[in-house]
Symmetry: C3
């Protein structure tokens, strides 16, 4: 599906942080390390334009020239994530406002509201200047827009600019205020509006706002990101034919990455396996302790697969953790070997490039404790050695490869918005549900393609899993109903219409699936509901459960005999949130029906198939045995298929 490309390495470099005298030596050393790519510029606005209108691009010209002449390809970032201090004087109301109503001040980064038109024009302006100057530069081989949209909780803004834009967005989407009132059920609690101008942002209400209101605000906020990004893309495209990318983050689901990705050639992401472990993976403390120096064995893989889809096949790791980071609650050093392992895990999932962040550790400012490939004193840091090893290995490695996987898993940002608007039980999230299914699939040795929710053609897949799709359009229902794959649905499938209203007939209401959810409940974490399959224990439901009726075949039961999952032909509906054992029971059956071969991995061992090779990784602290032989702790093993 993607064109054949060499796997490459790279790094992120900030020439403005270092004396110009050492740029050339740095460039040579990068090249000697085996790097292909170097990203520059994305935080440099105060050096490009220290005073409004006073432009200083010469230093960047020289930096790009030095890097390019050393044989490196440059990714040029637009600097809009860090507008200089003077921008605040020009546009005092450009900053985002938090949910408590506090403006988010200058002094770090991402201090802008996506809805502020004045700032969007500034963004267009600086991007145009860059595109004009570097659009045909022979060394600029790719672009990056902005940096890490959504990082530091920067999508949802409760500013005046956002309020005004939200009202326009609502008018565009609903046409009349009567239609909106009807769609949201605003007759409830006398919340009816007489005009769009009466609608406020859904923060600081006495008790929770209407979930339809919240969902609309989340969709609006997501769209603002896509518009902001698209304006940059169009400006660059007018002057450059190099591919354009954006570097997404781990588990940021506040905007629809697929929509942003539609306007870009390449998706990249910033992979910090240890940094993510504490607050984003969602694991229990003992798991966090076990993998404190390696990262979760599935979290990176999930994002690799996700961003491969977002990039329509083309994707990179733009920032790869190179040692301890500075920003997590705890910042341990990775086990020796992990910086190589993480790179190979990325290549196994089809990455074109893996760029270590950053070249040399900066001794100053917020990220002074963030490791680099070099130490602040210019000595080699451990990442440099591991990168060299990867570079060596890449010489004899095959091209980028990402064959269609046997299993598809649908991921829908809009569903995540809806779950966030109404989790129904404390701690329930769509992302976590999908990730739980993903982990169980990985435990069965399977390679997975993540699909966007607009997918209607499932040709070639033997299994399609679509858990938690709370709003499922009719044509997707029909496509799943009509496809030849084994399909896994539930819980909450089709539980709401697109305005967050319960549909009648009751969900899931899918052709060919005789199941109805008659009542749902959320559960304390300490009250699991035991499951059984053909009379034997089969894990449990935790946190969420649905009461089911229907004429389909019961394939999983609660201990008390009530149905827990039904199958109807090739479709299986599960009425609850399984634990790992529960998912494995369900998925093993699906694999059997779909004639997909499985082999269960254990501990920290995982694998993924590329064309002709199965790449094994071991996140564990001990060597382990695989069907392909013994794999060291923190090791990588290549098996010919």
């Amino acid at each position: 599906m993607t064109e054949a490309l060499k796997r490459t390495l790279g790094t992120c470099y900030y020439p403005e942080h270092w004396p110009e005298e050492i740029w050339e030596a740095d460039a040579r050393r990068m090249k000697d390390t085996g790097l292909t790519w170097v990203r520059v510029g994305e935080f440099s606005w105060s050096r490009l334009e220290p005073v409004p209108g006073d432009l200083h691009f010469e230093w960047l010209d020289r930096a790009i020239d030095i890097l390019g002449k050393a044989g490196l390809k440059v990714v040029l970032g637009t600097p809009t994530a860090t507008p200089p201090r003077w921008m605040i004087d020009k546009h005092p109301d450009m900053v985002a406002v938090d949910a408590h109503g506090n403006p988010r001040k200058f002094g770090s980064r991402r201090h802008y509201c996506f809805s502020h038109e004045g700032y969007k024009q500034e963004s267009d302006r600086i991007v145009k200047l860059l595109a004009e100057r570097y659009g045909r530069n022979p060394y600029v081989a790719a672009w990056q827009t902005d940096n890490e949209y959504g990082c530091h909780d920067t999508i949802l803004s409760y500013s005046d600019a956002a309020r005004t834009a939200f009202r326009l967005w609502l008018r565009d989407h609903y046409g009349t205020i009567e239609a909106l009132n009807r769609a949201w059920g605003n007759v409830f609690w006398s919340m009816e509006y007489r005009s769009f101008e009466e609608i406020d942002l859904p923060n600081l209400t006495v008790t929770e706002p209407n979930p339809s209101h919240t969902l609309a605000f989340r969709r609006f906020s997501s769209d603002q990101v896509a518009v902001f990004n698209k304006r940059q893309v169009e400006t660059i495209r007018a002057h450059s034919s190099a591919p354009i990318s954006h570097n997404y983050m781990g588990r940021i689901t506040d905007f629809d990455h697929f929509k942003v990705g539609d306007d870009l050639e390449i998706a990249t992401w910033d992979s910090y396996p240890l940094g993510f472990l504490e607050d984003r993976v969602g694991a229990a403390p003992d798991h966090q302790r076990t993998y404190a120096r390696q990262g979760d064995p599935d979290f990176q893989a999930f994002h690799h697969d996700l961003y491969r889809a977002v990039g329509k096949g083309r994707w990179w790791v733009m920032e790869q953790q190179p040692g301890p980071v500075n920003w997590a609650p705890y910042n341990p050093a990775p086990t020796k070997g992990m910086m190589r392992l993480w790179a190979w895990e990325a290549y196994a999932h089809g990455a074109e490039a893996v760029c270590y962040f950053r070249w040399r550790q900066a001794p100053f400012a917020q990220e002074q404790m963030h490791a680099g490939m070099l130490r602040p004193d210019n000595a080699d840091a451990p990442a440099l050695q591991e990168a060299k090893q990867v570079a060596e290995e890449l010489r004899s490695a095959p091209d980028v490869s990402s064959p269609q996987a046997p299993v598809a898993l649908i991921f829908d940002y809009d569903a995540d918005f809806a779950w966030a608007a109404q989790p129904h039980g404390a701690g329930l999230s769509y992302f976590q549900l999908v990730f739980d299914v993903y982990k169980a699939l990985r435990k069965l040795g399977l390679s997975i393609d993540i699909l966007r929710p607009e997918t209607r053609d499932f040709t070639g897949y033997k299994i399609v899993a679509a858990p938690g799709l709370i709003h499922m359009p009719e044509d997707l229902k029909r496509a799943l109903s009509g496809c030849s794959a084994q399909v896994l649905l539930g819980p909450r499938t089709g539980a709401r219409d697109k305005n967050m209203v319960i549909p009648v007939p009751l969900p899931p209401d899918i052709p060919g699936l005789d199941v109805t959810v008659t009542r749902v409940e959320s559960l304390r974490p300490d009250m699991p509901l035991a499951l059984k399959k053909s009379g034997t224990a089969a894990g449990c439901f935790r946190g969420y459960r649905e009461e089911l009726e229907g004429a389909a075949d019961i394939v999983l039961e609660l201990e008390n005999g009530e149905p827990a999952a039904f199958s109807n032909g090739h479709m299986t509906y599960v009425g609850g949130w399984c634990d790992e054992e529960g998912w494995l029971h369900l998925l093993r059956d699906l694999c059997k029906s779909a004639r997909v071969q499985t082999f269960e991995v254990s501990g920290g061992v995982r694998c993924r198939d590329t064309d002709g090779t199965r790449i094994w990784t071991n996140y564990g602290s001990d060597p382990a045995d695989t069907p392909a032989g013994r794999i060291e702790a923190a090791g990588v093993l290549f098996e010919n298929l």
Copy 2:
């Protein structure tokens, strides 16, 4: 004490949520279910007055007519808990302000400050319009003012309107600023004021404000509710002779319900046994897990007894949980049978009516996940079946009955304000203390009357418990001292004067009780103080303990021999917060002295006596044996006395 009335059932109905075509079928189905009452109107302001002054009562006329003609009696609610969006334009400063200084915005409900005169006039106006129109309507058999005062933490408001009103209230209560300074001890920390205009609301101070200041603000805030409610009542009374009620909530103690109740004929409350379990019962996690599908075995009973007192004998459950709710941290489904059990528990405590909330689950807006008697698709939900069974049983049931109980328990909202102003130890609350004593009394098989703190005549009671009455007026001291019941006092009895100052002589200073509290301490939860009675273990104190001196008889000791409780004639003073075992030891002795027969229930089994019948309930998950025979899990048992 109350007139003989038939026990009845009812529901809450929102005709404005449904097409007019189905109102009649709904009404018939209610009647067929065996319902007597239907509450309407309390959130419908935007449909009654979609534009200021543009009134649309015709639909409500028709709805009431249809319901009435079907044989149902209507409770008409005033819609003041949900002023429409246009009200905010008329009165931008009408919203309450939270303790952090943030206005609480439109977008849900209860978005008004009780001190805002402009809004109070709007409230009077809409109530007058309703009263004029429906005051003589034959089907409107009762009224409800507003909805759930205090829900969503809406009593304490830090708005400009509240500040102004608070200053006037203080002037009314203290007369001169010198008197206030003296009463509060404002010489401390130079907090003296020169005029009432200098006094601010007690939020956002550098460290805690003067507890006298906090207590005054809580009393003021409580009084504002009573005034708001009284204005509605007087407006309705001018046009209607139907009884007027308000639907209180569980464990909302921010206003004095007795004062509000003084102006009403009937107290009602909204009973959500599962919804309350997580955040309001105050139980440990294992108890929450055990009763996750049944609710706490005592929490409803306590409120039944409390609101019987608030209603001066007349009380209902206005909203009875009919299945899972939407608003608790976790929202499980009730065990089959509980919706019947809860109704019988209410009748056992003298309820005239039990109304399930709501008739049909709304598929939209905030409460879309709140179950109803019907599902959103109009099918019967489990509550409907259980209501039918209750209706059937009621046919042969005796009238409403609430004979005087042998045990009285005083509940004083003002004491709760004072404890909140100064808990002295983390987590200590007056409500929890009184509820702990209540639970122990229930464990002994006793029926209880809750009394308001103004009670002076205790004739007929064999035991009077008055724990935690931090301010005890002299005439109450005399009344307790002079009554013939066994009296349980302490801890903190009379520990403060009415301005929150420690009195001299030191507390409790009660005639005929030779006990003095010389020092008090609060304790970490993990440092219980073991108690002994006549040398054997008798539970422990937890959280709070007083050092006692006196010539009375020591009836409970600490392990080290220091006195823990004294008895002097018919009065017992306990100098600490007992655990369950400690309370049981004390209360068994009191019962013996008072010649009150006890029998100890266990697990989830409880009972209450009405005239001629002891009604047993089993909140447990297993059948249990009682003196009256075996009772099923979630079962109800009727024993003739």
Copy 3:
């Protein structure tokens, strides 16, 4: 080092709280109790100046006269911690602003911002009036400025006044904006400023601000306290020759006490052993439970040693806990004997005076539950009896003594600011690190001098410990390198330059110590790194660890053989945060090398040496054996040396 002085007792008295008729009896009773000192006036502004400019000093004249004539020496406090309500009208913007942007309102105390010039002039004015009137009063034998700087988190203020003053402070310290940008590394994330006027306070930023920015703001905030205090001192000195003091608090590290202390003759502090136990000692719950009635065995001693240094040898306990306090999460009563023990612990560390707070418990306002030496009803409280015993014992006790200790421990407030600006791992704090080392030294039976970081002459010390000194000036490095003591360094020694930038060469970069920290990591609390010494277990690192290289001798290893601590001649560098066992292993070796005799105390037993006497204290609940004989629980034992 300090002049010979009699050890004395005292109390804190608020004549304005009591009728004038009882002042004389109070004074007599104080004298009879054996008290020497009585502090007055520090919260009395509203009585001294009830209306702006309307002064009423007569009552204070009379109070001082009565106390003085009874034979008591008066400490007169300036009342600036509690400006009256009218001050807010004069200076509405004088209040501090919290980190969320909320002004901190009138209604308790310390409601002023140290940067507000208008308030500083008011402070000067009232202090001048007091100094003029009482500067030569024969009974005023000492002064106190303000009260508990920093209590209730009052050092960091985000007000407009603070912003303006911060910019001026930055200009003073950096000269040019270019110098500041360079020193802070503001090129990072385009944070460069064009002028000092562009710099805001480091709150409410999108993600963390530049740690250099935070550190500068903390230094500025600390300096504001010193300036505020110095203005009071200079005003008093113009009229009085009595010594001037300030009463510091426990574990408040938001300002540099040494800088404030430079302007004062005496340091005092307010010692609340039980109040501090829950939130300030940093102990685990079981330790908190064990010592709930005694206080931590080392926390008071640490502050005694610290404030002896702050006071340049002269120090008091100005407020000694006399029973339960009112302000901690839990407020238990002390074990009988502790109020005597705490006094003797203070004398053992060289205190000149111990004053119990307060004379009589106030029945009103915020501290109504704070015990006194008398109960509110004027009866003796337990503290009075214990104070009498101490007074009796003092009659035959030697003079104040504080010989140089064998061990020195450097404490640097600036290092605490820097750690707070960048803890790197959740929960890591400089104070806790130093306190952990202090505790281990106490466990070895050692007496300790705490030294300020400006110390360069270590003559006479056998051991100098300087853990965690994140910025170490070159001359301190040389002084430590050149001294004859055994020196303990690390972790984080010299890890940043004075602007919070990582230095090159990498730390610690100390002459004569061949050790380099090549990488650091912070660790989850549940992943300790086991240590070994000569092959046997020797505790572990927790929370923080450094990778070390060097040619010095390895004296402690990780289990995997990597170096954990190096010694180079008389200098030892430890690359991590040890647990108690780890510190003990390291310190025992140092003591052996330094020929310092140790004896390990256990449980709650501790000792300290004064001239000729070793004073033993037992914080435990059971009697214990010491080399000097048996010591009772809560007991004190005097051993002649």
